[in-house]
Amino acid sequence: MIAFLIKRLMHAVLVMFVISVLAFAIQDNLGDPIQQMVGQSVPESEREALRERLGLNDSFLVQYGRFAKNAVQGDFGYSYFYREPALGVIARHLPATLELVFAATLIIVLLSVPIGVYSAIKPRAVLSRFFMGASIIGISIPVFLTAIVLIQIFSIGITVSLFPESTGWGAWLNGLLSTQGNMPSFGRGYDLVHVVGHWDTNMASWDGLKHLVLPAISLASIMLPLFIRLIRAEMMEVLQSEYVKYARAKGISMRRVYFVHALKNTMLPVITVGGVQIGTMVAYTILTETVFQWPGMGLMFLDAINRADIPLIVAYLMIVGVIFVVTNTIVDLIYGFVNPTVKLTGKPA
């Protein structure tokens, strides 16, 4: 176990090293910092002196060493746009993103487990077929399109006049299919509750929750179908196994067989995939936050790109790198603990 732990940690450090080299190479090659700092009228000799003083003429390795030393201490330089330390800017935007990811994860867990289990137990039922069909449609709709459709339906509202308004049933159907658009479609609202430090939460007020709902559903929509299909596939395989047949033969109630015996082993691979996917959701927050103007890290990153705010871009890459590496490592470790059959030290087959 110790060997496995060390191996995973070494892997994590190696990955972080690669990311930091890439991030630094970006910083090194994007634009000329001297150009950003001084005006047109500064002569070349002056620029050269400044370049020398800032250490920009040192070799790549020396400069990288300095960068890495500062980065480890949490110093990524000043954001050009915000005029404050890049890490501070990220820290201010992080809670909004984490809250969004948390809400989306909650939706995914609460819906995917019951739906997945149900459609595994009754694969031929009408409802299961409906869920399977819906899930492949869900996979095919890009997350930003889901978000736009949600905005159209719930924030702007749709008026249906497909049926004749003069008849009673026509008016009723029109009314049923039309929606009032009163959900907020951008930002976090003003009714935030301060928790601690940079963290203002959306989850403690009615208005805050209303702002959170649509972005969270959009973000969840991309993962939910994947999880439903995954849970269904794993559960169906588990239900074929000998020990489930044996439990059934012993006369244990079906509910207990499904939810205690089978579900436990179903969740094993789901946890692994799930942990990795939570990291993946960071990528999708960029899209969701853009559509809903949600002031989190994703929107901040996109703004930083459009403003060529290099220190902020580099800091974002490093922080996201850390998030990915940490989640992946933790998931691997949990899997190693939970599933004793995994080959801990040997090479993966």
């Binding site: 994007l30 492949i136 095919s140 736009i148 990291g279 459009n306 290099i310």
Partner: protein, 313 residues
Amino acid sequence: MTMTTNKAPSRLDRFRDSFVWYSFKRDRTAQLCLAVFLCLVVAAFSAPLLAPTDPYDLRQIDIMASELPPFWIDGADEQYSLGTDAQGRDLWSIILYGTRVSLLIGFGAVILQALLGVTFGLMAGYLGGRVDAFLMRLADIQLSFSTLMVAIVVGAVVKATLGGAFYSQYAVLMLVLIIGLAEWPQYARTVRASVLAERSKEYVDAARVMGLRSKRIMFRHVLPNTLSPIFVISTVQIANAIISEAALSFLGLGMPETHPSLGSLIKAGFDYIQSGSWWITLIPGAVLVVLVLSINLLGDWLRDVMNPRLYKG
């Protein structure tokens, strides 16, 4: 095999006798999806013939005719069947051209992924040892980030380095490169897994004993036997590449609005959704969903028929 008086079955005959064709004939969903997909492809690539106007030609655009609704809504102009976008371009024409761009990038990116992934996967699986460890570690690292994340970051950095104007000019090429480079590990892993299964078989030993070079064994003997999983993931990968392209374009890292793909059409229309012009964004969106859905359903069917062990193994 010596040729006798009986002719050897042609490729077409063999295909007619195959299980793939048999199950295709019996599967309505697959037929429908293939029909829809082919319709879209044909329509998109014959866009210059089908489209009433040329959206790239500024002389044919009338800014006074902007934001006209599609034909079933009051206030529509019969000249523009699906309405017009904010710049006064005919939506039907621009969607045809946009679908062509999306398909081009999707196919291009998948071809690049397949070339890289199959080559690396074959090398990793067949040569083993250090090559294998290095390539698979690389694939692991890349896969541990989401491919979309890699694409967004690479796109952003490339755009910032080369400048927006240059990037827009070569956007198709850039997107093919970015999406292709971001997703090769999927292929490499799949190919490697099947190569490992094939490598221990006797025909490979026989070929080696005959003194064939590894390159020849890899590409002429092992590769044909790993084709069915490659086929299956290719469909899914095309769908993914089209969605990735749309996502990048939506973020402003893809096709420029003067030369839009479906993704940049959706992005351009989104700015006008609050003013009630939903058709500019939702009609291209619907086309995108139908395109991706038909590919995904075909992929599902193909996976059931060919039944490769994609996930376990």
